[in-house]
């Protein structure tokens, strides 16, 4: 039903909604999914995903025809592959550096990645400068995303499905299982002989690969990229999206992104003016309040709320069952655990 709905969206919605709400939600969802993958399966809450997707976007934008930047005139598909490759390698490098740190130190290191990337591209005018790179040529298949948003929407939809399915698959591989073991108890996994930093660095590389897809889509979406669009505020936005959706549930990435882009757009229409306190220009206040409510009421995000409602309903139907008050990270089914461990 959901797939049908999403596939039919271009004929249901006007081009603005398709582009500014749905396509935006899909690519932001992929960016948030890269963060949720790391936090949910690897126990790593990274603030570096925005910096990494910026690397992919800037690399691609410099390689194709564009105003500003290097505008080297590469074929957009080749430039996209190069952008993803460079960002993934960059992610692996950052992962290698950050892999031995945990908790707040990991958070700070990854935050530093995003800040460094922002200042790098803002300062190095031959690659971007503050004004960024404009009129970036998307592939012929995508065309002009403003005049005809459907192709980009489908590209983002297919990418989202592949990312979702890919992460689900990866979680069931031995690599994914080891990663979940490291998330739960790194010391024990080390004692069992697993190379913990290597696994964490590789996982960070996978997260970078996912984020880089979002970076490419974001450039096609606006046909430009500038440091102002990948600044600290955007880093926080990606985290807010993940938390609203559910930091420990992969589906939460797209749910959070859909809620975020809907509120971002429509709060400017709905919000009443209350003196200088509240009004359509107070989007950040609105999203901040929602963020606070979610964090206080349901640390598992919107998905967590759904789960607790579902659990309560089951409990009243079937009598008391085991239920956890706090969100549990993503974990694959036990039978697969067993199978893979053999």
């Amino acid at each position: 039903m959901l797939v049908l709905f999403l596939a039919a969206a271009p004929s249901v919605f006007d081009s603005f909604t398709l582009s500014q709400i749905l396509t935006k939600a899909l690519w932001l969802g992929i960016a948030a999914a890269s963060l949720i993958f790391l936090s949910s399966y690897g126990g790593m809450i990274s603030l570096g995903q925005t910096g990494i997707y910026a690397v992919a976007g800037f690399t691609m934008a410099n390689l194709v025809h564009a105003a500003n930047g290097r505008h080297l005139g590469w074929d957009p598909i080749a430039a996209t592959a190069a952008g993803i490759a460079v960002a993934t390698l960059f992610g692996l490098l950052c992962g290698a550096i950050a892999a031995r740190s945990y908790g707040i130190y990991f958070l700070m290191l990854t935050l530093a990645i995003s800040v460094i990337v922002f200042y790098f591209f803002a300062q190095v005018t031959t690659l971007s400068g503050y004004g960024g790179i404009r009129s970036v040529t998307p592939p012929a298949l995508i065309g002009n995303p403003v005049a005809n948003p459907a192709p980009l929407y489908y590209a983002a939809l297919v990418a989202s499905i592949l990312v979702y399915a890919g992460i689900r698959y990866l979680a069931r591989t031995p690599f994914g299982l080891v990663l979940q073991g490291i998330r739960d108890d790194p010391a024990r996994m080390q004692a069992l002989g697993f190379n913990v930093p290597l696994h964490r660095a590789l996982a960070f590389g996978v997260g970078a690969f996912i984020a880089s897809i979002a970076g490419i889509l974001s450039v096609w979406y606006t046909t430009q990229i500038s440091p102002g669009g990948v600044n600290l505020a955007q880093t926080i936005n990606v985290l807010v999206i993940a938390v609203i959706g559910g930091l420990y549930r992969l589906e939460g990435a797209w749910i959070g992104a859909a809620v975020f882009s809907t509120i971002d757009n429509y709060s400017r229409l709905w919000m009443p003016n209350v003196g200088d306190w509240l009004g359509p220009d107070r989007f950040e206040t609105v999203i901040g309040v929602i963020f606070l409510v979610i964090v206080l009421a349901s640390p598992g995000g919107l998905v967590g709320i759904w789960e607790s409602v579902w659990a309560r309903r089951n409990r009243t139907r079937r009598g008391p069952t085991e239920s956890s008050g706090t969100p549990a990270p993503e974990t694959v089914d036990n039978d697969v655990d067993h199978h893979a461990a053999v």
């Binding site: 749910i255 229409l269 359509p280 220009d281």
Partner: protein
């Protein structure tokens, strides 16, 4: 941990979320009605976030005041952002469909432009505010909306008109370089500077603003020995202050917005009190908000923009009176932000009147009328060149000690720079690149106004 119900749960969850989104967006999509022939829809784009967010109500207040003063608009509240209804131009209802709230980044400006134009159905957009935003909106107008009309708010990057040349993007304010006209010659001929150093935020607008000083100063024989570029949003300027050499005759400051307050404080901590003969500022120095925030340190220094703040002529008084619908905006009448948006709406009102409110035919008649508009504004006439860029007078102004009972410095206009055009008499053209190192500092034929500055004294 076993969760046998999860797949079913999530499918339902996603389906519910999707349907919810469908309901929400479908409901709101319906609200975007098509244009009827008796309604002209206008969107106003400004910044409510970022470095220039504090000018939000000055911007939209400048535009809406025109509707209130001339076209029967009724303010819906005390602040401009509360909206305005009831305005009619040439018998057509003017509907303000919404205000765009950007943050001085190109990506947000485009998102907000698209919301106003594509979602809310604006026929005409007034805005944006800041340099890079202006370039992005001009490109969007040219590539994606050739049948709608865009009138710049107060964005001042040269490229938006000189390079992009969108046939449906009009700018009734001078660009950043034009606002600096007169200062290069003043520094060389009056203050005796032979060498100078510049400092400005590292993005499109200051590139343009400082280019205006550099082009003129170098043309008359001066030499700019160093250009320092702190990133936009810098909060600690100490390392940039340290880069400013002291063995030069003068410093030209193009740091804007809130950054100027911090910069001046730190500059004085390092170098002592400002010597007004050795320092000069761009348009921000004489902005009413910043003047009030910074106070006396800048007294004696000279800056320039399109406003002669101490002019008390009937025309200026009439302009200030027009702003009376919004007292907070009226207080900032002498702000380029207020005047820029006022110019835009004034020009639109004149053009719409001249075509009798007819925006059919892909607005081509309206656009032709706009290109011919001459605003007889509070500080002189404003007309457009062939790239739809303003040609206007610029005013060199000296900051004076606060009047008795006030701690906000006064302003004394000293020179009128007549009919400043965007090319500086051929110094800039569509192939010009303005960046950290361009334009180069070269001695050449000075712009036409050098030597023809008109001394003024408004008493």
């Amino acid at each position: 941990m076993l969760r046998p119900q999860r797949n079913v749960e999530f499918r339902r969850l996603l389906a519910t979320a999707a349907l919810g989104l469908l309901a929400v967006t479908a409901c709101t999509s319906n609200s975007t009605s098509t244009t009827t022939s008796n309604v002209i829809k206008i969107g106003i784009l400004s910044d409510c976030l970022g470095d220039f967010g504090s000018f939000y109500n000055d911007d939209i207040g400048g535009a809406l005041s025109v509707l209130a003063a001339h076209y029967g608009g009724k303010a819906s509240g005390a602040l401009p952002k509360d909206g305005m209804t009831g305005a009619k131009i040439a018998g057509k209802d003017i509907q303000i469909v919404g205000f765009g709230c950007s943050d001085s980044t190109a990506s947000k400006a485009i998102e907000e432009t698209r919301r106003l134009v594509e979602q809310l159905g604006a026929d005409i957009l007034i805005g944006p505010l800041s340099g890079d935003e202006g370039i992005a909106v001009a490109n969007y107008a040219k590539t994606n909306q050739p049948n709608k009309t865009f009138i710049n708010g107060i964005a001042g990057a040269q490229e938006a008109t000189l390079k992009v040349q969108a046939p449906n993007f009009f700018r009734f304010n001078p660009d950043g370089a034009q606002w600096s006209a007169g200062l290069g010659s003043y520094a060389y001929n009056k203050l005796g500077w032979r060498t100078a150093v510049t400092i400005g935020d590292d993005y499109a607008f200051p590139y343009t603003s400082l280019a205006g000083f550099i082009a003129e100063f170098c043309a008359v024989g001066g030499n700019v020995t160093k250009r320092v570029w702190p990133p936009l949003g810098t909060t600690d300027y100490s390392s940039f202050v340290a880069q400013i050499p002291t063995n030069v005759d003068g410093l030209f400051v193009g740091v804007g917005g809130a950054g100027l307050i911090t910069f001046l404080k730190q500059y004085q901590q390092a170098n002592g009190k400002l010597n007004s003969n050795k320092v000069m500022g761009n348009l921000f120095w004489i902005d009413p908000q910043l003047l009030a925030a910074i106070g006396t340190p800048m007294v004696g220094a000279v800056a320039a923009n399109m406003i002669a703040a101490d002019d008390t002529s009937a025309q200026t008084k009439a302009y200030v009176q027009e702003l009376s619908v919004y007292p907070a905006t009226q207080k900032d009448a002498a702000s380029v932000f207020t005047l820029g948006y006022w110019n835009a709406m004034t020009a639109l009102g004149m053009a719409l009147t001249s075509v009798n409110g007819d925006i059919s035919g892909n607005q081509k008649a309206l656009q032709a009328a706009l290109a011919k508009v001459v605003i007889d504004g509070p500080y002189g006439k404003v007309s457009l060149d062939s790239n739809r860029q303003a040609i206007a007078d610029n005013w060199v102004t000296q900051i004076t000690p606060p009047p008795a009972g006030s701690n906000v410095p006064g302003l004394k206009t000293i020179l009128q720079i007549p009919k400043v055009d965007q090319t500086f008499g051929g110094f800039f053209d569509s192939s010009s690149t303005l960046d950290r190192t361009n334009p180069p500092c070269t001695k050449k034929t000075p712009p036409s106004w050098v030597g023809h500055e008109i001394p003024v004294n408004f008493g």
